[in-house]
């Protein structure tokens, strides 16, 4: 059996591997500006998008990335498939393998699903989000967006703000930022912070005190269900202490930028004024997504099989 390469979490990469993908993403961003935005590099390869959770951005962006590399794309969404008839994940995966797919991009509500797939089938696996666990391509596209604006990230400070506990974006993002030598803060009410410390990450509940240190303010989506779970007394109170608004922006470092993985709750974690401000880079994040995922797919599938590609 051929040894495949995978991208399950940012740990599959070291700093050098991350930088190689980000450098290549610049070239793929240039491809997006050509009259013909398609290159023949993955001609003859097949990429399956296996999505067990709703997603707009990530699925569309993986699909476009694969298509622009000339791969064939199969889109599988759990709601419109044999899953409705009770087919198990394993049988679905084996079906895809029998059809000869080269890579499976998987999103699943259960943490660890991509690792199971890697055991079951002989295809390259890319994690597009598993439960509350990891979302490595989001972390990479966020690094790319930051690096394009700030240059070297070494020594810069980023605060992840909001529902850290339930956020795979924060979990992969904080690790990736540490790899790049950034200072990382996790800002949230105690009920939304993970119960155990994360290496190199400073936990705090005081957003206002953290703001003057921040080059990047990374807002996480606040789900209204968290109130029913009793994690926050009320959304109004959460807004008062943890929303990024124009007043709080005034206390951040000059030139600081605001990021959000989407979809945003305007008026909850982010005010509309901030969401539409020039220092908020959400559309740049989405644009980076296609280039970074092209770089990831190309790195995993583009070279010789069994090569030393990713790490």
């Amino acid at each position: 059996m051929v040894e495949r390469r995978h991208l399950l979490d940012v740990d599959d990469l070291d700093r050098e591997g991350i930088e190689r993908i980000l450098d290549m993403a610049r070239s793929f961003a240039e491809v997006q500006r050509r009259p013909i935005k398609k290159v023949p590099s993955l001609r003859g390869k097949t990429v399956a998008n296996l999505f067990y959770e709703p997603s707009t951005r990530t699925r569309l962006s993986f699909e476009l990335a694969a298509k622009r590399l000339s791969a064939d794309v199969l889109n599988f969404t759990a709601s419109a498939s044999s899953v409705q008839k009770g087919e198990s994940l394993k049988d679905t995966a084996l079906t895809l393998e029998a059809m000869g797919v080269d890579a499976v991009v998987v999103r699943h509500p259960v943490a660890g699903t991509p690792w199971l797939l890697r055991k079951w089938i002989n295809a390259t696996i890319l994690n597009a989000g598993d439960g509350m666990h990891a979302h490595p391509t989001q972390a990479l596209l966020d690094l790319f967006t930051m690096r394009e604006r700030m240059g070297n990230l070494e020594g810069k400070t980023i605060a992840f703000v909001g529902d850290i506990l339930h956020s795979r974006v924060a979990r992969s993002g904080m690790k990736a930022c540490r790899f790049m030598g950034m200072e990382v803060l996790a800002v949230a009410p105690p009920t939304l912070l993970p119960p155990v410390a994360m290496e190199g990450v400073e936990f705090t509940c005081d957003f206002d005190a953290a703001l003057p240190r921040c080059d990047v303010i990374y807002m996480l989506r606040m789900q209204k269900e968290r109130q029913q779970e009793g994690r926050v007394p009320s959304i109004e109170e959460y807004v008062r202490f943890y929303q990024i608004d124009a007043g709080r922006m005034g206390r951040a470092r000059p030139g600081a930028m605001v990021m959000h993985p989407g979809p945003m709750n305007r008026g909850v974690e982010i005010s509309s004024e901030v969401a539409d401000a020039p220092y908020a880079v959400m559309t740049a994040q989405v644009a980076s997504g296609v280039a970074v995922r092209m770089a990831a797919l190309f790195t995993l599938l583009g070279g010789a099989e069994g090569g030393d590609g990713i790490a």
């Binding site: 190689r20 450098d23 290549m24 610049r26 070239s27 793929f28 240039e30 491809v31 050509r34 009259p35 013909i36 398609k38 290159v39 023949p40 590099s41 770089a295 190309f298 790195t299 583009g302 070279g303 010789a304 099989e305 090569g307 030393d308 590609g309």
Partner: protein
């Protein structure tokens, strides 16, 4: 695998003269330089294209736009490369209707040039594409020939040709040798 040189076939003066002559030939063939764009294939085609542009502008008194092209995404041997790396491609404006000259250091199988032409076609429809190389070492695997050649260099397939340019290698010279190790 390391390169062991056996013979130096061009020195700095030879390279300079070859670039000068090719610049004259390009101007002559295209009746001037007004509609020309030079495109260097990475890595060593890029400094060569800049040298040619400088030579042409001193002959004709007009600036010639220069671009650089990374052909990795268009290679036909990608499946044999363990860690392909894609670098920057930059073309100076629209190539629609232009006379393009692809510039490379060594012409061998012709496969790089095929990839370069495919890449360029994705940027627009040039009026023509020509090919300038410093060294033509023969052994074509595709029906491709150079319009401008600095030096024809008969070689055997087991030999290697190495072009060294100051901008990339810190020295000048063309060498024949073999892979060792």
């Amino acid at each position: 695998m390391a390169f062991r040189e056996r013979t130096r076939v061009m020195d700095a003066d030879d390279i300079r003269r070859a670039v000068q002559r090719v610049a004259h030939e390009i101007v002559e063939r295209n009746k001037g330089a007004s509609n020309l764009v030079l495109v260097g294939i990475r890595t060593r085609g890029v400094p060569l294209s800049l040298r040619l542009a400088k030579a042409i502008s001193s002959i004709e008194g007009t600036e010639v736009p220069v671009g650089k092209l990374d052909i990795t995404l268009y290679r036909d041997d990608l499946h044999t490369v363990s860690t392909p790396v894609v670098r920057e491609t930059h073309l100076p404006g629209d190539i629609e209707g232009k006379n393009l000259v692809i510039v490379d250091d060594v012409l061998y199988t012709g496969r790089s040039v095929r990839a370069a032409m495919d890449a360029l076609m994705d940027f627009g429809r040039p009026a023509s594409i020509q090919l300038a190389v410093l060294v033509d070492r023969g052994h074509r695997e595709l029906p491709i020939r150079a319009d401008y050649v600095g030096k024809n260099l008969p070689t055997s397939r087991d030999e290697r040709v190495k072009v060294a340019l100051t901008e990339v290698d810190g020295e000048e010279g063309v060498y024949i040798g073999e892979e060792v190790g």
